[in-house]
């Protein structure tokens, strides 16, 4: 099993969620994060003081999937999260040793 972690623009979340649903992926976890990268932040002025805001709001999506869906999931996220501008984000893939569904105690792919 794989854990696909995507850091994307917040406004793309619904898009991605729906497209993943269509793929038969019915679970995911989202976190508000702040990203730093090529996309530049901005400067805010409050009276005489300048504050550089380097971190921009992003959303991290985590999706556990069975190995065989990996390519499709990456493809889907790539397409539905893309706006074509700097800051669209990244997809990270890591190996999952084990998945457990707490409610039922199921393990492995059927727990996803």
């Amino acid at each position: 099993m794989k854990l696909v972690t995507a850091i994307i623009k917040p406004q793309q979340v619904d898009n991605v969620k729906e497209d993943l649903n269509k793929l038969g992926i019915h679970g995911l976890t989202a976190t508000d994060v702040k990203g730093f990268g090529r996309q530049k932040g901005h400067t805010e002025f409050y009276r005489g003081s300048e504050f550089e805001v380097a971190f921009l709001p992003k959303t991290k999506l985590e999706v556990a999937i069975p190995e065989e869906k990996l390519e499709k999931v990456i493809e889907t996220i790539k397409n539905s999260a893309k706006t074509g501008k700097f800051g669209d984000g990244k997809i990270f893939v890591t190996e999952l040793d084990q998945v457990v569904r707490i409610r039922t105690g199921e393990k492995g792919p059927e727990a996803i």
Binding site: E44, F45, Y46, R47, G48, S49, F51
Partner: protein, 397 residues
């Protein structure tokens, strides 16, 4: 006793109290970082209580009773408000109302100072400092301007507190900011919406402050309200357009700051100028305070956290001087420069200079003394973790 005047003065008192709690508390609370909100507002609230208690014990007496050193300060005949009964009058209103009305001015002056030392002052030191400051600085200056002391007898005009309240707190704040030194880290205003509420309450409450200073429900009060409204609005727009013109975006904090600058500047003038004078006072105050709070401060390098000096000190000075220019005989009985009376401007200058020196020196000395009792400044660790948690044991979640 006049019931109409009394009704308006009871109301004005409510309005001026509203300026401090929650007005100033929110204005300041919205501008500090998240970890210092509780600290900032607790300071304001504590000061409201503390100054009330002191006023009752001896403050009112020092400011408004007759004393042996009447030029500078009142006496002790109203200790514990002795002599203030149900039937005592002050002009056309009950003296009890006058006592509380004046108290609310003392409260806000002290509360405003905290803005200069926000995010780093030690709570117990602040408590002691304010207690001494109210008695040694506020009460005497108040007496000299409104209690029949020195400045009053010279003929300095200060309708509602340009010197007593604003220059006073502005200079005290500046001195305190310098003595305490810079914050370790400046924080972005956490929630300007709170500052909007605070500023709005200041604006509305200021009608009690300025129109209430007529101590009557009459044409003088009405005109004070009208000129206050005009100066405030003009200064708000002036700051906004100044900022916009200098290549920044028109910001909420900018227009709020401008409005406060206008309120401050019209304060000494409110009973003496007409609508057109108010317009110019607002215009000038908005621009000058913009410059003081964004350019001058950075040039001089002191860390006046929430611009008590840049807005109250500078705005109060601008207003006090412009009163000497725009005062109209037909309105408040005193003529200004534009009506050919050059002397008034000079008197205003003396009033300003005297207050700056008096407050500056005393504030400095008091701070140094307090520092011997308890450190003025929170520890570095408290500052890093936030005064909320470390000094008050509470957090905003």
């Amino acid at each position: 006793m006049n019931a109409g005047d009394t009704a308006w003065m009871l109301t004005s008192t409510c309005l001026v109290l509203l300026m401090t709690v929650p007005g100033v508390a929110l204005l300041y609370g919205g501008m500090v970082g998240k970890k210092n909100i509780i600290s900032t507002i607790t300071q304001t609230f504590m000061i409201t209580c503390l100054v009330t208690l002191l006023w009752f014990i001896v403050g009112y007496s020092l400011a408004f009773s007759e004393g042996s050193f009447n030029t500078f300060v009142g006496g002790f005949s109203n200790l514990f408000l002795k002599g203030v009964g149900v039937d005592s009058l002050s002009g056309t209103i009950p003296e009890s109302v006058f006592v509380v009305f004046q108290l609310t001015f003392a409260i806000i002056t002290a509360a405003l100072i905290c803005g200069a030392v926000a995010e780093r002052m030690n709570f117990s030191a602040l408590l002691i400092f304010i207690a001494i400051w109210i008695l040694l600085v506020y009460a005497p200056i108040c007496h000299m301007v409104w209690g029949g002391g020195l400045l009053a007898s010279l003929g300095v005009l200060d309708f509602a507190g340009g010197t007593v309240v604003h220059i006073n707190c502005g200079i005290a704040g500046l001195v305190a900011a310098i003595v305490l030194g810079e914050r370790k880290q400046k924080s972005r205003p956490h929630n300007l919406l709170l500052s909007l509420i605070g500023t709005s309450l200041l604006w509305v409450g200021w009608f009690g402050f300025n129109a209430g200073s007529a101590v009557a429900a009459n044409g003088g009060a009405g005109m004070a309200m009208l000129v206050t409204q005009i100066a405030t609005a003009t200064a708000g727009l002036a700051w906004m357009f100044a900022e916009w013109g200098f290549g920044k975006k028109p910001s909420l904090l900018g227009i709020l700051s401008g409005a406060i600058a206008g309120l401050v500047a019209i304060t000494p003038a409110a009973g003496f100028v007409g609508p057109v004078g108010a317009f110019f006072i607002g215009l000038i105050a908005g621009i000058v305070c913009y410059w003081a709070s964004t350019k001058l401060k950075n040039k001089l390098g002191y860390d006046d956290s929430l611009d008590v000096f840049g807005i109250h000190g500078v705005g109060g000075t601008v207003g006090a001087l412009l009163t000497g220019i725009f005062a109209k005989e037909a309105i408040g009985g005193a003529a200004g420069l534009l009506e050919g009376n050059t002397g008034q401007l000079w008197l205003q200058f003396i009033g300003v200079a005297f207050t700056i020196v008096y407050t500056g020196v005393f504030t400095y000395v008091i701070l140094k003394i307090v520092n011997l009792i308890t450190p003025l400044r929170a520890t570095a660790e408290e500052e890093t973790q936030g005064l909320d948690l470390r000094q008050h044991g509470e957090q905003i979640n």
